[in-house]
Symmetry: C2
Subunit: 117 residues, 2 copies
DNA sequence: ACGTTGATCAACGAAAGTGTTGAATATGTA
DNA sequence: TACATATTCAACACTTTCGTTGATCAACGT
């Protein structure tokens, strides 16, 4: 009954947590292991590990294997999807309502399923 | 312990639901009342009303008062914040890592609080 | 005043999210 | 082998979210 399973919902849900966004911010500066990532936080290592699992499930990070370490790496594809989703709304604050009309026509033709996207 | 309260988390959490995104998409085409907004969905009017409350609390919509109707209107400020948050990562897929370096320097100077943003 | 329409509030239950502790797994080192 | 390090798994508790039903509030029309 509950909890959306579509990719965009999964992504946004993963991003809706300050700890996870901080982890991504750290990863934007380079790869890191779980322990390195956990260091700045007051929560347990296990909790951080689970946050990373959420990010991985959402496709926001990927992980390698080097001995007992599992270095995490930022993946941008899902963030690009968020960026794409925003495009529709960006036109509002950019004031180009002509583009907006064109955009609306286009998506209702190709259809992007308004109730899922 | 639970549930982040910072504005960006609230916004992303509100967006992490396909029903609520569909409501925003509908509102991007113009203002609408609760009944009009609820019409395409299989859930109860009360459920839609609560989704709208979530969107309003997040600042993603505002509401007027016209007799017994409460017309909803899209507000873009919070979406712009999401857009701003994305900027840091956009540099990755745009391949301009020089800009990235400059960006990182700038934010660690002015500080944007990595653990909250 | 009365009934209708638009919308919200309140109480409930099921499911999911987040943190903790303690155990388990896997790899590297002495 | 034994031990330390890195990470994950499992069980538990508490909170939050989402949908439902039933009641309530507010403004309209007759």
């Amino acid at each position: 009954m509950y909890s959306a399973t579509d990719p965009l919902s999964t992504t946004l849900s993963a991003l809706a947590d300050p700890t996870r966004r901080a982890l991504l911010a750290r990863l934007s500066e380079g790869e890191a292991t779980v322990n390195q990532l956990a260091e700045p936080f007051d929560i347990t290592l296990q909790a951080v590990s689970r946050h990373l699992k959420v990010l991985e499930t959402a496709g926001l990070i990927s992980r390698g294997r080097e001995a007992q370490w599992r270095p995490c790496k930022l993946e941008t594809a899902r963030l690009q999807e968020v960026d794409g989703w925003l495009a529709r709304y960006r036109m509002f604050w950019e004031g180009s309502f002509d583009k907006m009309g064109a955009y609306l026509e286009e998506i209702t033709k190709g259809d992007q399923n308004g109730s899922k996207n």
